[in-house]
């Protein structure tokens, strides 16, 4: 359903993590995810270190050590995509269910994928919850993403709520006119008809979006926009930011070393 209630993931705060430069948080989260991804299967010690790091960082945010943990199961349904691994990877047998043999190697690989995924999600959550999206946007711009792309994303963020509200109103209007004809009879017509109604709503929303973009373009033009996005100055990284970044990279490198060597 609609994400409207979730729309602003950011939790206000003034912790050390909140105050870090968004570039540092972005880079830190991405590096963490890269290391988690690159670690070999079954590097339990390194996984443990990464997990400890997520707990420490979460605790530093002041939102509670468990807050990312609680929200970190969003990616779990995707585990189905890898669920065949214990049965399909050849190796030492662990258990047998009828014709299906569970191998040690396959189970280790499956568990490793799940753990990596779960750790990565936690770090992404910490970043999202401690960085206001507008800050994240200028962080992306400062990290040299194409200005036009960042501007598109920023417009999207701004109008997400406006258009989601319009979508919600359309769905309410549909719901209020979709009564069941008689008790026990299902509301709505054939699949084709239901699809067409939903499609009509989408079409309606397309037109509204188009017209809105025309009006916005006029209002931008009225204020001197000619196609070139200009940006406000970006602050420089403070000593605190550098220390945090270097400390974080050092920790990740150590973890990776441990993961590869042991």
């Amino acid at each position: 359903m609609l994400h409207i209630d979730l729309a602003d993931q950011y939790r206000r705060g003034s912790s050390r993590v909140h105050r870090l430069d968004p570039r540092v948080k972005l880079a830190g989260a991405v590096l963490f995810i890269v290391v988690a991804s690159a670690l070999p299967a079954g590097a339990w010690g390194a996984y443990g270190l990464l997990f400890a790091a997520t707990l420490v960082v979460a605790a530093l945010t002041g939102l509670g050590a468990g807050f990312a943990l609680k929200r970190s199961f969003v990616a779990l349904p995707f585990a189905l995509a890898a669920i065949s691994l214990p049965f399909t990877v050849a190796g030492r047998p662990l258990a047998q269910f009828g014709p299906l043999v569970v191998s040690v190697e396959g189970t280790v690989r499956f568990a490793s994928i799940l753990i990596k995924s779960w750790l990565s999600v936690q770090m992404a959550i910490v970043m999202t919850f401690t960085t206001a999206f507008p800050d994240l946007l200028w962080g992306l711009r400062a990290l040299r993403l194409p200005p036009a792309l960042v501007a598109i994303v920023s417009f999207m963020y701004r109008y997400l709520f406006v258009l989601a509200d319009e979508a919600l109103r359309l769905m309410r209007a549909r719901a209020s006119r979709s009564g069941a004809g008689a008790p026990g009879r299902r509301a709505g017509g054939s699949l084709w008809w239901r699809g067409k109604v939903a499609g009509g709503m989408v079409g309606n929303l397309t037109l509204r979006a188009f017209e809105r973009s025309e009006r916005i373009h006029a209002s931008m033009t009225a204020r001197g926009f000619q196609g070139e996005i200009r940006m406000l100055a970006t602050p420089v990284l403070t000593d605190r930011d550098w220390n945090a970044l270097v400390g974080w990279v050092t920790f990740l490198a150590m973890t990776a070393l441990i993961g590869f060597v042991f």
């Binding site: 990616a75 349904p77 994303v153 319009e166 239901r194 309606n204 926009f225």
Partner: protein, 320 residues
């Protein structure tokens, strides 16, 4: 129909952890290339309208993805949107719109990973936009201009685009060693053959509505540059495919496709030179001696540098 319920959550947003690092980087390379080219193309097409139009339409696709309708057995149909965007705006603009949607879903809602974002953009943005666009163009050529070709082409494009995205996801998962292709491909394709019907229904409904009320908007997509672009897409798909095949070949874990290929006996001949070049090359994890050696040195340097930095700072603070 319970298995559909079970598999329905397997959407196309790949989280981090499921793709190997190498595969993820390939995805990012493809995505960056496509986005860069799309930015230039749409800039020429739309001028200063580019940013507000793409941005608001990205917000629209995001909102439209929330509009759903019940299909059967508790599953519901909803929109991915790549094809609709490609028909209305042209494929390159659709690439940007979908990139913004998928990027925000990953950044804001952890819907799909950050490292996996590259391939998520390729699967749900680039592939859906272009397969949808080409299927639509093909039908238009066969049936001629008009409402019928718009709707039939839209339906075909929408269904094909979802299937293409699903198949690509399966291939990437297999290349990463997260699932044998023999399992992933039929599962993904099977589920998405149904999801694609929902996509087709909504796309057709939306196109019919736009055709009836503002036919002029559909000219934008029709006039969008795509011919020169087609070559690039074919090159890109070629690269992606060869990388995927290469990954299978290099993977130490034989699975579906490779076993079939090995049985057929052509794999050894075809990829013999690759094996001699990179003995024991392994995609998931890093098992090659040389590679791990280099990596260890790099990581060790980083650690030493970090500790020195910390000590130096401490020294300076004490001195100050």
């Amino acid at each position: 129909m319970s298995w559909i319920n079970l598999l329905a959550p397997v959407r196309l947003h790949i989280p981090d952890g499921f793709l190997s690092t190498t595969v993820s980087l390939v995805g990012w390379l493809l995505a960056v290339g496509a986005i860069g080219y799309a930015l230039r193309q749409t800039r020429g097409q739309l001028g200063s309208r580019q940013i507000p139009l793409m941005g608001v339409l990205a917000a629209f696709i995001f909102a439209a993805q929330a509009i759903n309708f019940p299909v059967a057995g508790g599953t519901s149909g909803h929109l991915l949107g790549g094809t609709l965007a490609a028909i209305v705006l042209g494929p390159w603009a659709a690439v940007l719109v979908m990139t913004a949607v998928i990027g925000v879903q990953a950044l804001l809602f952890q819907d799909g990973g950050l490292l996996a974002l590259g391939f998520n953009i390729v699967n749900m943005g680039v592939l859906t936009a272009f397969t949808g666009h080409f299927a639509f163009q093909l039908l238009k050529r066969i049936l001629g201009e008009g409402r019928t070709s718009l709707l039939v082409g839209g339906a075909l494009g929408a269904w094909v685009s979802v299937m293409a995205g699903a198949a690509a996801t399966a291939v990437e998962l297999a290349a990463s060693g997260a699932s044998p292709l023999g399992v992933a491909l039929p599962a993904m394709a099977g589920v998405h053959a149904l999801i694609g019907i929902g996509e087709a229904l909504i796309t057709v409904g939306a196109l019919a509505f736009i055709y009836a009320s503002r036919r002029d908007l559909l000219d934008l997509g029709a006039r969008a540059p795509a011919k020169a672009a087609a070559n690039w897409v074919i090159v890109g798909l070629g690269i992606a495919l060869s990388v995927a095949v290469f990954s299978f070949a290099a993977s130490p874990h034989p699975d579906g496709l490779e076993r079939v290929a090995a049985d057929a006996g052509f794999l050894g001949r075809a990829l013999g030179p690759v094996y001699t070049l990179l003995p024991n090359y392994a995609i998931p994890g890093i098992s090659n001696q040389v590679v791990s050696g280099v990596l260890a040195v790099v990581l060790g340097t980083l650690v030493v540098f970090g500790i020195t930095w910390a000590l130096a700072r401490r020294q300076r603070r004490l001195g100050a």
